[in-house]
Amino acid sequence: MAAGVVEHHLSQAEVAQLAKPRRPLGAKIGVVASYVGMALIVIYCILPFYWMIVSSLRLPSMGLSTSFLPDPPSIENFKGVFSGQNNFGRSLINSVIISGATTIITLLVGMVAAYALARLQFKGKGGVLWIIMACSMFPQITLIVPLLKMFSQTDPFEWFPYWINTYQGVILPYLAFGLPLAVWNLTAFFRQLPVELEHAAMVDGCTPGQAFRKVIVPLAAPGVFTTAIIVFIGAWNEFLIALTFLQDANMQTATVAISKFTGTTGFDTPYGTIMAAGVIVTVPLLAAVLIFQRRIVAGLTAGGVK
């Protein structure tokens, strides 16, 4: 593995070098070079994550060890993550509830909007697209200040319900960021479906609503599913809003909980526990991403890659 790391450090220069278009020196050299290049890319992407996994499998006392294999391997850190004071199990449940609710609401609301944008002609469509677009450019911090005052019943908002430490206090702001993304994605998917399918359904006696439910939704299922994964990952990974609005240890999400491991165990940063928690939070996402990688890439590039 030591050799692997050294290679990783050469990789940036190497990648740039390899990226220059080559003269045809012979197909074989080209093939070998492309494999080397791809290997470097994979090493570049995977190696830091490998370090996280290795560090999580050490003994808790060996958090800063720099050996490339855990010696001796141990799952103590993983046990530590779920020990009493860290409350990590609860955080995971909170994350699942918040991300799940965000995803479902985003899809339900976003799907009808995307259908309108993809299929209907109306005045002001360009304006709507720009509004949705602009919404996704927003720095989250711009929303934090007014929403914090609103949810905490500060000065002009005494009438507003107290929403700090509630699920809806983060789910609703998440919608503001999830919806633009979902609407863009789904609009692209709906547009790819031939409109003749709906014609045929309506000739056979469907109402437009039925045509949408029975023809379009099932056919767009892959697109809807991809959008769901992307929105879910976005909500699962969100940090700033959750950090601000979920201050109670029983309500915080997994990302916030991980960031707070630092303070709880003395002066040393409990790296082993943090890395173990990081692995736990990341692995389900990675599994989903790897299983559905084709679809996700297609979703991210909006049908550019099939």
């Binding site: 278009p21 791809m38 994550f49 109306f122 360009g126």
Partner: protein, 357 residues
Amino acid sequence: MATATAVSKPSTATGDGHKRKKNAFSDGQGRLAWMLLAPTLLVIFVMAGIPVVMSIRESFFANDNAPDPTTGLIKQGESFVGIKNFAQIFTSTDVVQGNWGTMNRFWNAFLNTSMITIVCVVIETVLGVAMALIMSKAFRGRGFVRAGILVPWAIPTIVSALMWKLIFDANGVMNKILGQQILWLSDTFSSFWAIVIADSWKTAPFIGLLTLAGLQTIPAEVYEAAKVDGASAIQQFTQITLPMVKPTLVVAVLFRTLDTLRMFDLPYGMIGPGKYRVETLSVFAYQETQATRFGSAAAYSMVLFIYVLLVAYLFVRVLGADVIGEKAPKKKKVKKNDRNDTQAAPVSGIELAGGAH
């Protein structure tokens, strides 16, 4: 695609319409469309529109922190202070020592944000394009590489921040490999580079992925024709590859830029809050919120918002980023003149999907 719009326009009239036959711009279809859009627009209005307006209002207010003359208690509440919060940006005596010399804390954060963005985006674009070129040359194993590339993307930013914190620890593996004793995490200039490295790791592969999608739209015949005409490899790259991949790349770079401008998780999680060498505008404004100075927090976040809008505007105007337009990365024909089509298949804008979080 121009063709797609041409097909869908006439057909929607009959396709979706209502019981009666209506033409494409009939009232009925418009009303249906607005009904379908209403929930989305409502959420955006309530959760983004209203807060922005309130944020603007807030930026003209400040805490009353003078003691009340009659009771001697600190007065609660806020009062209107005009542009004082913004004027503070220029007049504040809260001076800090950062990477760019000793200056007012706001300008320090502003310069940090700008420099991190410029350096990161340049490195990520170069690396990303390089990765895309390698992948486009691959015969087999592309799926495997793509899986690897999605790993940094899927890891939560805060987790990756803590992961890099471990790697960059004074006794950590990075110093061991380099054989140096660099204090990456101690608010030094190295902290700046630590942020750049960690951010590039997470997002360069992503730019690579999007660029690859753009590369795959270039038909092989174009290259064959160029070869017949005797174009060198470098000429092919600068004359064919770059111009043809530019629309995809510009949008990808735009969204990366906007995303980096609002960076929060990485400096906050990796170096920590209150470290002036890496304090971005988002972190600074957050710190002000934590100190319950909502007025100045709102003012600084408004400056960031305006900055983001300005950059987006420049991208659209100068580089012709086609954000809501038509130039989708499609396999078949991508012609440069497609971009004049403004009524919108919002396809190439989708890149924000990944960039947004």
